[in-house]
Amino acid sequence: MSRARLAVALALGLLLGVLLLFGFAGIELDTPLRAADRLLVEPTRLVSRDAALEPDGAGLQVVGADAQGISLLLQPVEPFEAGRYRHFSLALRDLPPVLRALLVWRVDGELRAMPIPGLFHGRATLDLAGVDGWRGRVDAIGFALLPTDYLAAEPSRQRRFGFERGSLATDSWGGALHALVTQWTAYRPWNGRSNNTAGFELSATPGPSLQAFVAGLLAITLLLALVLGGRRALRGSAVVAIALALGLLAARQAAQLVMRAQVASSAAAIAADHPQWPLAAQPQLGHEALQLSARLDPSPPPRLLVWSEDRFLREYPTWLLRRFNAASLHTPAQLTELGQALPGSVLVLAGDGGWEYDQAAARLSLHGLDLSATLLLHGSLLQAYRLDEAGR
C-alpha cells in the first residue's frame, strides 16, 4: 500500500472509529452548542444518619455504617427536574474493595437508587439517560456504600473511606465518553446469573456492547484494508487486527477476574475474623443456619425438612444445613407428607410467613396441618421446630 493510500486509510479509519464511538456513547453532535450546567455534591452539605463524617481537606472521611451495612450520604438540594442532568460523577478514595456503591436520589419523599459502576478504582461517571426512576422532581442527591452481596452487613460495618467530589452535569461529549469508558472497564461483580450469562452485573438492562464495538472497529479496519490495499493488504492486516481485537477483550476479562479475586479475598479475610458471619449467597441465611446448626446434635444427624413459598429460600438453606440429613419440600402438596416425618425431625421454615406458632401450646399451624412442635430457632429469615411424637 502506498503512503498516500495508507494516510487515507488511517484518516478514514479514525473518522469512522470516532463516529462508531459516538454512536455507542449515545452522543448527539450538537451537544457542545447547548448551555452546560453542573450541580455539585458538597462535602459541607452532605448528611448521614449512621455514618460519622469528618472533614478531610476539601473532602470528607466517612466512618461506619448502619445495621444493614449501609453508609448513606444525602445532600438536600433545590428541587429540579431529573431530566435536566444526564451524568453523575463521583470520586472516592481508600474505598475497601468489598464495598459497592449506589447513586441515591429522593423524589416525592421516596428514595430511589441505582448501582454506580466503576468505583473499584475510585472514579466513575454514570449515564442517567433512560435510567428507570430518574424522573420527577429531585430534592436530595447522594450515594450509599454497602457490602458486596455475599458478605454480611455486620462484619463490614467498620469502614473508613474518603469522599473527594461528586456532581450532576448536563449532557456533554466528555461526560458521555467517560460514562462509556466507566461502563466498559467497571468492576462487574459475580452475581446469581454469572454461570448462565454475563452482562447483567450492573443493571437489569445491559449497557452498550464492547464486543459489538470491537467487532465494528475490526470490520472497518479490514474493509479499509481490502478497499484501499486489495487482498494482499487484507491478508497482512487481518491477523494483526484480529489478534489485537481478541487480545483487548481477553485483557478486559483478565482485569475483571483480578478485581473479582481481590473482592473475594478481601471478603474472605473479613469473614474469617467473624466466624458467625460466613460468606454465603444470602449472608443472613448463612448466619442463621450456623445458629441452628449449633443448636442441633449432629450425631446421629437429625432429619431436617425445609419449606418456604420461595424456591431459593427452601433450597439454599438445605445446602447450608447439609451436615444434617436435610431435604427441601418441592411443592405445598408435599406438606401433607410431613405426617410421615419421624418424631425428632426438624422442620425449617424460611421466609416471611404462611404459618403460626403457639408457643404456650407448642403447636405449629401450617397449610391446614396442626403439628406438635418445639421452637428451636426464631431468626429473621429462618424458623426451626422439632416435630414431636404427636406431630406425626
Binding site: Y150, L249, A261, S265, L279, G286, P300, A327
Partner: protein
Amino acid sequence: MTAAVLPGFALLVTGLFGGAIWLLLAGWPRQRAGWWLALGEGYLLGALLIGNLLWMAGALTTEGLFLRSLPWLLAVAAVAAGLAWWGRQPAPAVPDTVDSAVTRRLAALGLLLLAALWLVILAQAWALPTLTWDAWNAWLAKAKAWHHAGAMWPVVELSLWLESAPESQLSAVAAPYPEALPRYATWLASAAGRWRDGDVHLAWPMLWLALGASLAGALRLRGAGRLAALAAAGFLLTLPMVTAHAGLAGYADLWLAAALLAAGHHASRFIAGERRAALPALAFTLLLPTIKLEGAVWMPMLLAGVGLWKLPPRWRWSALAGAVALLLLPLLLWRSIRLPLPGLGPVEFEWGAITVPVVGRLDLFWRDVGGTVAESLFLLPNWSLLFYLLLPVIAWRWRRIAEPANAMLATVLLSGTAFLFVLFFFTDAARWAENLTSLNRLVLHLVPLLVCWLALLLLPARPAVRGRWR
C-alpha cells in the same frame, strides 16, 4: 500440612492416575506436545474415572476414603505408566514444529500470563463459598451430604426418603443426575478431612488449566506452532463463560465441554488415520453421559459422526440416507419411534413431540427466541468475538472442511447445533433461552470443540504423516 496442601495433593494424585491411564490408552508421547495432552486430558480422565469407580462402588464410607484409595490408585497408575513405557515407539522421523526465537519468547510470555490468570481464578475458587444455584442445589449437594453422613448413601426423591429408615438414604432435588462429579468431590473432601467449599472448588481451576493444556496439545500435535496453539488456548480460556465456570466452581458444564473436546479431537485423529487415537476417543466418549445428562446426547452424535466418516466415501451418503430413512420410516408408518439412549432411557419420537423419561413430553412447535439467542451470542459479553469470526473463517477456509478429519468434527458440531436449535426454538426449553439460563451453558458444551475445529481450519495444510500425531 496446611489445609490447602491436602486437597492439592489429591489433585496431583488425580493427575498422576489419569495421566498414567491416558498414557496407556493413547501411547507414550513421541513429541513434547503429547505431554501437554497427557497433562491436561490426564487430569480430566483421572477425575472422571475416580468419580465413576466410586459410583460403581455404591454406598462406601467416606471416612478416610482418600487414604484408603491412594495405594490402589498409585499402584494402577504405576502399572499403567509402566505398560505404556514398555510399549513406547521410537520418535517420529518428522521433526517437531520449529519456532523462531521471537515466537518462542512470545509463547513463553503468553504462558506466564495464563499462569498468572490461573492463580487469580484459583484464588477466587478457594476464597468463595459455593454461590451459584446448580452448584449447591445439584452438583455439590450430594457430595456435601455424603461427606457429612459418613457414607455414600443412595440419594432419592423426597417421598422415598420420608419412607426410608433414618441413616440409610439422603434426598436432593437433583437425585437422578449422574454421580461421577459429586463422588469425585466427596473424594476430594475426604482428602482434606473436612468439608470446606473452597477445598472442593479447587477441581474447577484445575479443569480450566487442563482444558487449555488439552487444546494447546491437540493443536500442537496437528502441526500448530507454539504461539498459535497457545493463542487458541488463551482465547478459549479467557472467554467470559469459561472463566465464570472455572472461578464460580460447582457446575458440570465445563467438565462436559472438556470431555467433548478430548473425545472429538481424538476421534478426528482416528479419522485421519491414527488408529491408536480410537482408544482415548472411545474412553472420553463413553464418559460423557456420566458427567451430565446432555452427555447422553453428545455421545451418539460423536459416534455417528465417526461412523459416517470412517465409511468408504462411496457408501457414506447412501449410509446416511439409509439411517435417515430408518428413523423416518417408523415415524411415517406408526407415527412414533422409541430409541434407547444411554443415560436418558427410552426416548420416544413422534410427529410434533419427543418424550424423554427424565424430562417428560416436549411438544414441538416454533418459538420466537431468535432475538435473545442473537443477543446472547453477539452482544452480551459471553463469547468475545467467537461467533463473529465463525462464518468468516468458514467462508475463508471452506476447502479445508472437506478433509475427513475436519469434516467429521463439522458433522458433530453441525448436529450439535441442530440439536440446540430444535431444543431452544421448538420445545419448552425456549424459556431457558428467553430467560438466559441454560442457553449459554449448552452452547459452552460445544465451544472448546468449536474453537479447536476453527483453529484446525486455520492451520496451514500439511500432509498427514502416519504415526506422527501422538
